[in-house]
Symmetry: C2
């Protein structure tokens, strides 16, 4: 086994430790959360690409459920390319970027600040262009991420968004404690999960296309797992909500087109179970991860995780089987997850 292929896996394993490092920054998050609340925002606008955009999907739920604010993954092109005259004066803007260099995210944040938004950079590099342009910077504290495929960046972005939203709602102690306990249970669970994904990776070595399905805050998880499978394993893996599946894509399924589902014990679970039933009826192989994986009938493979101490934190646990599976599948296919073809760690695409 090539040592260079192990950076991604090592960074997945580092996630509990990275989270504990982030939690040392509670004061910074509380101050930012209070500044957001003082703004009484009509919208929290989240912008990022790739894994950071997947994390932004989670932010919609963190802000919606904790302070009860409307949050959205905003269109970057509407402002940066088309110059739309939107009112940013009552907005909080959060730019997410591991490197802090993503050009259109930097441009968006710059423009939003000029137009009166409270701007926050969430980045691993406090000296980056993004951090410079934003009014406030929140450290991701993920440590250096050497693998091109992100893992702990996404993981700490989720934690940071939960902590910021909790601080905005005055519930930082509850979220902080939930995150701390999440780090502990995850550290315990990783060795078993690594064993569990190994046979699945062997079975999936020739899979060319997959759907990854989650709903509610697990949509962020679905987006991140699909992205990992696409970039590290060259699988055409598309994320869908459980309801999206029924509105068209189910027609494409067959025995060569497996579906990965993310099952957490919340109010969206019946919709996920309903989607899983459609998958089985189409003759497609069903994988279930998440702490409610046992409730997904007919799953050929189950990758259960411990229940999250706070339901909103479930994605921090349910994403990990997907990351570990991507690492194992890349290895089974002879691919290097640390250096996917045609990708670089810092993407400067327009």
């Amino acid at each position: 086994m090539n040592v260079s292929r192990r950076i991604f896996l090592a960074e997945v394993r580092e996630q509990p430790a990275a989270l504990l490092t982030l939690l040392e920054q509670l004061d910074v998050f509380v101050a930012a959360g209070r500044a957001c609340a003082a703004r009484k925002p009509s919208a929290v606008r989240l912008v990022g690409h790739g894994s950071s955009d997947a994390a932004a999907s989670y932010g919609v739920y963190a802000f919606g459920l904790l302070p009860g604010w409307t949050a959205l993954r905003d269109s970057i092109s509407l402002s940066v390319y088309y110059g739309a005259e939107l009112d940013f004066s009552s907005s909080v803007v959060i730019g997410l970027s591991q490197s802090g260099q993503t050009p259109d995210v930097v441009s968006y944040v710059e423009r939003a600040r000029e137009r009166g938004a409270l701007t926050i950079a969430l980045t691993n590099d406090p000296g980056s262009a993004l951090a410079e342009r934003a009014e406030l910077t929140l450290p991701l504290e993920a440590g250096e991420e050497q693998s091109v495929a992100a893992s702990k960046t996404f993981f700490n972005e989720l934690a940071a968004l939960a902590l910021l939203a909790g601080s905005a709602a005055g519930r930082e102690d509850e979220i902080w404690d939930g995150l701390r306990r999440t780090a502990v249970v995850l550290a315990d669970a990783i060795p078993e999960l690594e064993k569990a994904v190994a046979p699945l990776a062997m079975a999936f070595a020739y899979v060319g296309r997959m759907y990854v399905i989650g709903r509610g805050y697990e949509l962020a998880t679905a987006r991140e797992i699909a992205l990992k499978l696409t970039e590290t394993c060259r699988v055409a893996a598309e994320p869908l909500t459980s309801t999206d599946l029924a509105h068209g894509p189910v027609a494409a399924l067959d025995s060569m087109f497996p579906v990965w589902t993310i099952a957490s014990p919340d109010a969206t679970l019946p919709a996920l179970i309903d989607a899983a039933k459609r998958v089985r009826e189409a003759g497609a192989t069903l994988v279930a991860c998440g702490s409610a994986a046992a409730e997904v009938e007919g799953a050929a493979w189950r990758l259960p995780v411990p229940e999250a101490p706070v339901p909103l934190l479930s994605p921090l646990l349910s994403v990990v089987p997907g990351q570990l599976f991507a690492a194992a599948l890349a290895e089974a296919k002879g691919l290097d997850p640390d250096k996917p073809e045609r990708l670089t760690k810092v993407t400067l695409a327009q």
Copy 2:
């Protein structure tokens, strides 16, 4: 050729006529647009599934560029499943559903109205549950759509959103006239486009996976074309923005994984051209549709359409080569686009 396989195609051809029928309802749209403007909304929340959700992506740009309002494809699960306590009092809500029966869209609109939003139903059935629950109903006027795969519903949803956003901005005459001229140029263009897609369908008969790439308001087009290819041709076709492509998915491309690009002559075109270059470098076949298709270097196939009379209306033209290609590809594969497997016209999924 089986006659039953021709309903989808017939409905694609009916789109210019359906649009002209919609345009007879200008007064209804102007009244609704004025009601929206009177609300001075802090957000326009769009909800729908499948093609209606693709159209919602367009609404983000129509409202952002015409009245300059923040519009978002809202999370249905946040309100309907999780019961988030969001402030809807300064929101306009638009529920999109061909049948007006989509359960969680109806629930969302009902809840939003209770919480003070101005609610608007955009549906083909003014007697539907959605129309009943919403304060205002805008007719889609697409006529009966018999094919399970939607075409003219999506098309008229785009037109309706443009007309509503134009009316909200007091620019209804300009948009109305642009739409009328769009219907005329499209009717002229369809016969040539049908000829142009035929050889492409033959060449793509064995394609299993594709990306469909557009940016800005052409993201809606990309989402709809990808959905058509998925449900009628059983291709795993994923929509991406041109920038998404560079943030991971480009790593999965090879000569068996073609990419369809949508090129319109607006400020996002350089980003699309940059993405197309990455596609070619990966050795993937490149298809370019849209009125700026000629500017996409290295495209193996080009499906140009006439330039839209108003740039924002470009998707009404650029979606059509994708619809016609889906019809032709389904036929080449021996599939029935009118009745995709496991789908029904009215989706009652949770």
